[in-house]
Symmetry: C2
Subunit: 216 residues, 2 copies
């Protein structure tokens, strides 16, 4: 199964491409927006597609035309302006969903935020609420699509080394999770079709990732 | 017919409440977020509701519980940060749509932007694209609802005196329209159920507003 990784040059994206290339069942196609970003992925023998997420749906669909799944890991990051929140976290995600449809790719795995429900927008600190709102609407768009989706809601991301162990479920208490483990969860989702149509939160925990994801 | 005007204290909103109060068939309930904004509307014998659009759906629904229609005229304005674009132009609009549903109000008139189609997001200058995207998703949410909606797409807004004459349709060339005439179009929509389920652009023109709206 070949998966297009949108936002491959991000922190989670790089781990994800690495783990996908290590998996026997999967191969990665890294979507990045600069040629300078190619070498990291080429070294891992991953295919690379040069597309800026601010381009149109057709450009993304072209990158998706020969894959079996799309993983959306792109994020505007906390240090960009709020204009990028709507253009990347919301519109970039929706364009990717529409591109997957256009390319005939049914499987779609989305990295969301820990809690994107309506109440979470209301409860968020003023500076964080626009990001939560953007992710809320991106998730809604995906749920309303007819794609085989999985939505992963990670806790507070850290650069700690992954442990391979998590807690997965809904209504978890917010706590940390490493980007390495998030990437491993995404691989586990791609490898397990029982995650189709599901969404769940993940934080550090005591259950092996494959088991936690399989038990959902 | 009583109409809740969301964003009543805005430039279009004030004209709209004025014209609604002058209409024989309509009465206005002005939703504003500050007590200091009451006198303008009280002088026009309009009812007033004190609700900030950043509050939750229930607060807006409470303001809508005794009305027959909702008009969304709120806008973050060009001088607010892009965080307000997503929180007001998108999320504020969606919360108002959900509040109308919750209050059992079927009729909903939306002021949109001149062109909120996918291609318009792509084509917009970088500084304007987030606003177009926000309006795009708000319009999509309304279309997907089961409300009796009308979506009005005005051209470049001016503070010129209204002429009472417009051109209405789709795929118009972008040009100006006064806020006074936009407000009159909204009144014409409320008064004419043939506008239900329709959306159209408006610019300055040579057709009387009631006729232009009736011919759609």
């Amino acid at each position: 199964m070949k998966a297009l990784v949108v936002g491959a040059n991000g922190q989670i994206g790089k781990h994800l491409v690495t783990y996908i290339q290590e998996s026997e069942k999967l191969e990665a196609k890294a979507m990045v927006r600069k040629k300078e970003q190619f070498p990291f992925f080429e070294e891992k023998n991953a295919e690379v597609a040069l597309v800026d997420l601010e381009e149109d749906i057709d450009s993304i669909a072209k990158a998706a035309k020969d894959v079996d799944a799309v993983v959306f890991t792109a994020g505007s990051g906390p240090h960009t302006g709020k204009d990028k929140t709507i253009m990347i976290d919301l519109d970039g995600a929706v364009k990717t969903i529409e591109a997957a449809k256009k390319a005939g790719v049914k499987r779609f795995v989305m990295i969301s935020s820990f809690d994107t429900r309506r109440q979470a927008i209301q409860d968020a600190p003023e500076s964080f609420a626009p990001y939560v709102a953007a992710k809320h609407y991106a998730d809604e768009w995906l749920r309303a699509s007819d794609l085989d989706y999985t939505i992963v809601h990670p806790g507070l991301l850290t650069n700690d080394e992954g442990t391979g162990q998590i807690t997965a479920g809904m209504d978890l208490d917010a706590s940390e999770i490493s980007r390495e483990d998030v990437a491993k969860v995404l691989v586990a989702c791609l490898e397990n079709d029982k995650t189709i149509g599901k969404e769940f939160q993940i934080v550090n925990g005591n259950t092996a990732i494959e088991e936690a994801v399989g038990d959902l």
